[in-house]
Amino acid sequence: MEQVEERGGWGALDDLPGNPMMWILIISELLVFGAFFLSFGVSRMLDPVGFGQSQALLDGVYGGVNTIVLITSGFLCAVAVETKSIQRARGLLAGAIALGGVFGVIKMIEYGDKFDHGIGIETDTFFTLFFLMTGFHFLHVIFGMILLGIGIWKPRRDVLETVCAFWHMVDLIWVLLYPLVYLAR
């Protein structure tokens, strides 16, 4: 128990890189998105035909490209945490932010395409959940970009670990969200 005190008093969270509060946030986020995924799965089970029809209106290419963009961005972050040179770390984070921006632009084009076809958040349950889940995720991409910006501003090791942990969570959620919403038949 005394040993716990010396390590910062956060218990198991002290073993993780970055600020323990970030991990509390990450766990909370995973709970929320987990609940959304569960809701999506159950709703789909209740209405497989309707969900299938609406899903067919999605373009898997947008999501596929965005998956590659986001994972690449996450890779740059991972390298930035490991690198010794501060300048190099800053550059890598800038690259990660830029790719986050690309993700955002593609997302906006995809949303615009849906709106042009008269599809919105109130179209049906599938699209309500589609827009809520991808929308919440999009907000986290924007928030993550701000965090990465803080990483450029103060490139201390613990800061880098903290902001990159968040960014990897954004990755992780997308990697689960994409197949669930776009691909699973």
């Binding site: 008093g9 909370s28 929320v32 958040i121 109130e122 827009f131 809520l132």
Partner: protein
């Protein structure tokens, strides 16, 4: 007690306890009207009785929070209060203002928005009182030591004032009206009040268990972030059926389900601190209230809240006695109990005595807590029957009410026991008992 100015808390605690008794008496009266519906209908209509019951509750809880703040902030900041005189003026302004508002209710002068029925001058008076209070406290914290406990408390109290401003915005559109009404009601009790509660519990844990401040502060930050993370978007569980878009059903269901988590964290926090601290503090009653508060808040706010928070469930239970069950246990468990906890801890110190009347106080704890729990069960069963008859079978509202008579009688009975328990608590806190030999 380390600072003379902490003594102003005595005004607030006393005022709060007086209103506490008034509140439960009006509750008892309202319970009686449920059993004998036409009683007092001409003299004192039910809507006015209920208004006094709910408003008195909110006012005395706030008054207790203010007393708690005036007690703990000087101790945390390690300095005297900015102005004792201002704190006393503020107390009388608040107390007399609240009394004037009650008189105006009894005369039939009130608005129509639930809980915000205060006439405009009443609302303005509340804002002035809040500003004096916040000025006094903020100045104190600014000149002294800044701790996590006092900062979280201050953020919570400022939040109370800021969100109250939405009480002045009264749009004609009913959807907007309800939407912003919840910014006061929900963001108070499921947002900023929770911060106040957590900081008071944290203060009590530091004092009662002797666990290091650093450890307590980490828990406090954890609880605060969980509260805000879940509670703010949890507002969505009020946006199911008021005319707001359908996606709120998803947002509200998911985030408000997670609102259980901070309350559970408070249970783990308090019990773990007590387990870890191992200090044998003489004020056993205060510890009982602090632990009881965490547990009952978890059940009342957390479990009973979750009971009807999913939109698919709420579609049937909305506005039934299930809501009343949740409301009673949540307010008692979270905010009544945290108030009594800090009063039980602070009053002996303020009066310069050893902890006194502890036995009586703990009897008050068990009697009141049991009675409120019983009331909650009764109302839950009443709500379940009501939901089935009214919402599933489609029977008329009044026909169903007639069939709930037995439940309402049992509720009245438990209400009478709550009044008894409340009186015991107030007596044990205010009347000097035999000095316990140290």
């Amino acid at each position: 007690m380390k600072y003379q100015s902490q003594k102003v808390a005595l005004y607030y605690f006393t005022g709060a306890l007086v209103l506490f008794v008034a509140q439960v008496l009006f509750g008892l009266l309202a319970g009686a009207v449920y059993v004998a519906p036409n009683m007092l209908a001409d003299v004192l209509p039910f809507n006015v009785i209920r208004m006094v019951h709910t408003n008195a509750l909110i006012v005395w809880l706030l008054m207790g929070f203010m007393g708690a703040a005036y007690y703990l902030v000087p101790e945390e900041a390690e300095t005297e209060l900015h102005s004792t005189k201002l704190a006393i003026i503020q107390f009388w302004a608040f107390f007399l203002g609240a009394a004037a508002i009650v008189v105006s209710y009894l005369l039939g002068n009130h608005g129509g928005r639930e809980f915000l029925e205060q006439p405009l001058w009443g609302k303005i008076a509340i804002v002035i009182v809040a500003l004096i209070f916040l000025f006094n406290l903020t100045m104190t914290v600014l000149k002294g030591r800044k701790t996590a406990v006092s900062l979280v408390l201050l953020v919570g109290l400022w939040g109370v004032a800021v969100f109250f401003l939405f009480a002045f915005y009264n749009p004609v559109n009913l959807v907007l009206d309800k939407m912003f009404w919840w910014w006061v009601v929900h963001l108070w009790v499921e947002g900023v009040w929770e911060l106040i509660m957590a900081s008071i519990l944290a203060f009590l844990m530091i004092k009662l268990t002797g666990v290091d401040r650093e450890v307590v502060e980490k828990w406090l930050y954890l609880i605060v972030s969980l509260t805000l993370f879940t509670g703010i978007l949890g507002t969505g569980h009020h946006y199911y059926w008021i005319g707001t878009p359908g996606y709120w059903q998803w947002i509200g269901s998911i985030f408000s389900t997670l609102e259980v988590v901070p309350f559970f964290a408070m249970v783990v926090f308090t019990f773990y601190m007590v387990y870890k601290g191992g200090r044998d503090h003489p004020n056993k009653a205060a510890l009982l209230w602090a632990l009881g508060c965490a547990v009952m808040a978890f059940f009342g706010a957390g479990v009973w809240g979750f009971l009807h928070t999913l939109s698919g469930v709420n579609y049937y239970t909305h506005g039934t006695q299930i809501t009343a069950a949740h409301g009673h246990l949540a307010f008692y468990g979270a905010y009544v109990m945290v108030n009594i906890a800090i009063m039980t801890y602070a009053l002996p110190n303020l009066l310069g005595r050893s902890p006194y009347n502890q036995m009586l106080n703990m009897w008050g704890f068990w009697i009141t807590t049991s009675a409120v729990s019983f009331m909650t069960f009764v109302l839950t069963f009443a709500g379940t029957v009501q939901t089935h008859l009214q919402r599933v079978l489609g029977e008329g509202f009044m026909d169903v009410q007639d069939q709930l008579g037995l439940f309402y009688m049992m509720r009245l009975g438990s209400g009478a026991v709550v009044v008894l328990g409340a009186i015991i608590i107030v007596v044990s806190l205010l009347l000097p008992g035999k000095e316990k030999q140290a």
